[in-house]
Symmetry: C2
Subunit: 152 residues, 2 copies
């Protein structure tokens, strides 16, 4: 297949499968978050802040895999609606550390339950060994992709 210039066999490509799995996961998450009036990025932002209070806009953006401009739009909306607070002035530099409000924390709780159920469903049928194997393998892929990325 690879030799005769036939291209990448999509049925056997791990890259394609990775995209497919990610797409299925996102769709499943959107489905359970929609009744809560929340998007995936919206949830990601809240979850990140819950685990690491005081993250800046740029750090949140990297954690949610969007640009800092996109995250900024979201953060302003979350701030306006009272899910998140940021100080008016930066304690140091320009960085504005964001934190969840009680309301934001309450909102996140429901979402976390929903998202956790999706993850549990995704991992059903996999043994503990397989799961930790998947963990290692995915980390290896990420590392390999990022490594040469900078060099090239």
């Amino acid at each position: 297949m690879s030799q005769n210039g036939a291209g990448i066999d999509l049925d056997k490509s791990l890259g394609y499968l990775l995209k497919e799995a990610s797409s299925a996961l996102r769709a499943a998450m959107e489905e359970v978050l929609r009744p809560l009036g929340m998007t995936v990025t919206h949830y990601s932002c809240l979850e990140l802040l819950a685990q690491r209070p005081g993250l800046s806009n740029s750090e949140l953006a990297r954690g949610a895999f969007v640009t800092r401009q996109s995250m900024n739009v979201l953060l302003q909306a979350l701030e306006r609606d009272g899910y998140v607070t940021r100080p008016a002035a930066a304690p140091v530099g320009k960085v504005l550390p964001a934190r969840l409000t009680p309301r934001g924390r309450r909102s996140l709780e429901k979402a976390t339950v929903a998202v956790r159920s999706v993850e549990v469903r995704m991992l059903a049928g996999l043994t503990e060994t397989e799961q930790s194997g998947a963990f290692r393998i995915l980390q290896s892929m990420i590392h390999s992709l990022r490594d040469d990325n900078a060099g090239a």
Copy 2:
């Protein structure tokens, strides 16, 4: 950046890792495709057509994980630029089977080389056994997510 350097160890759930890996793969693909003036969806469409000539717009959309409306926009551009052809009238029903032109095939060849190098890089450091393990695991995840999706 964050000066406290506190735990970069984010919520390293398998779901998050999956998203991270997929994001890294997409970024790496965008990087090698940009010099060729091609986006990931653009490339996906061409690759799909190379392997399964005659796919319809809707089928291409499903294969590239976008809506048929988005794929339609892309297909019209590809058609206008001479990479793809579709019959003026549908042979049967409304389905318009798309095919690569020689120009489209030439364009794809370069892109395939670039994308293949990314995939090779991603899999560097993984044994054959690990790769087939990853394959099975990803398929299991996809199946589990889609299965209950319909039911629940």
